[in-house]
Symmetry: C2
Subunit: 170 residues, 2 copies
Amino acid sequence: MDQPSLKAVLGQAQAFFSSKGLRFTKQREAVTTLIFRTQEHFRPEELCERLRKSDSSASRATIYRTILHLVESGMLREISLGGGERLYDPNFLKSPHHNHLVCVDCRKIVEFEDPNLDIMQNCITRRMGFSPTEKALRIEGRCDMLRLLGTCKNFNAAGKKGQRDKASKG
Amino acid sequence: MDQPSLKAVLGQAQAFFSSKGLRFTKQREAVTTLIFRTQEHFRPEELCERLRKSDSSASRATIYRTILHLVESGMLREISLGGGERLYDPNFLKSPHHNHLVCVDCRKIVEFEDPNLDIMQNCITRRMGFSPTEKALRIEGRCDMLRLLGTCKNFNAAGKKGQRDKASKG
DNA sequence: GGCAAAATGATATTGCGTCTCAATCTCGCG
DNA sequence: CGCGAGATTGAGACGCAATATCATTTTGCC
């Protein structure tokens, strides 16, 4: 699937909830919609704020609970940037094997796929006595090049500590 | 360097501090010693507790500050397991290129090195417009095999939230 | 000794996430 | 329709890690 429509995603969510004997309530639908409409990585608190600004609403507790459910359903995944930050990634539906490259300076995240890396990752995992999961791999780097090209404007939301004003422009 | 002696490590730390016009105080030495004596990954709060139990002492604030300094010096690195946990790794002095394999179930961490992976990692990093750093790469997996061998006893401390009682066995 | 800068530690504060629990909603049933 | 069980919600309390504040202490230096 290349770019599942929001409608399809909502259907999938609904199916998951009802398969668990849970209800796909107004609030859950609002949260799910918000998550999968923009398809951006997000922090839970961020999502709370976005939802507060929108017309629909749900309490923090409900938002957190819905996120957990969606993770359990496999539609959403937690990714970690380091720094103790918790991020969620709604893009595994469209590219189930992608990995993340994270800039150690500005926390920018780029997604990529690489079949060879997948193979090597599997080998290593097994070699060390682990079994591979569908879960992602994370590489850290520095997005200098991107920055040179002036692409590093569109960060990953953040807006907190990741801000280094020294890196202005080329 | 294969296994730098504690004395050498302390010397290095001292050098770093004085190069910055900072003092290598009793407290900082105590913290540094505690970190590099066992060479285990640790959580800051864990370290506080360990230090409290020892004969020497330092306040939480000082411990956190010292950790930051050591990270800045390059002697210590932050690694992330996901789940919003922040861990520090004192082992980059002896193996500067190692990576981490993390069990998604029990949070066990295994260190490994793989030159081929390093190469591929560099390629990908550059391809995506990033420049490689000395920083590590993290792979997630499931330590079933290890567990079969009964090796998974010696976790990585944890003992808190990682515990899913519902997911007992497959 | 005495000063200025650095360091410390007790405490307050923040941020994020979880838990609790009473009130509300929904569904199926008679 | 009215009922009851169970699911859901939301407000707020709570816990924990980490940071910030600031008065006090220590240190290096003259």
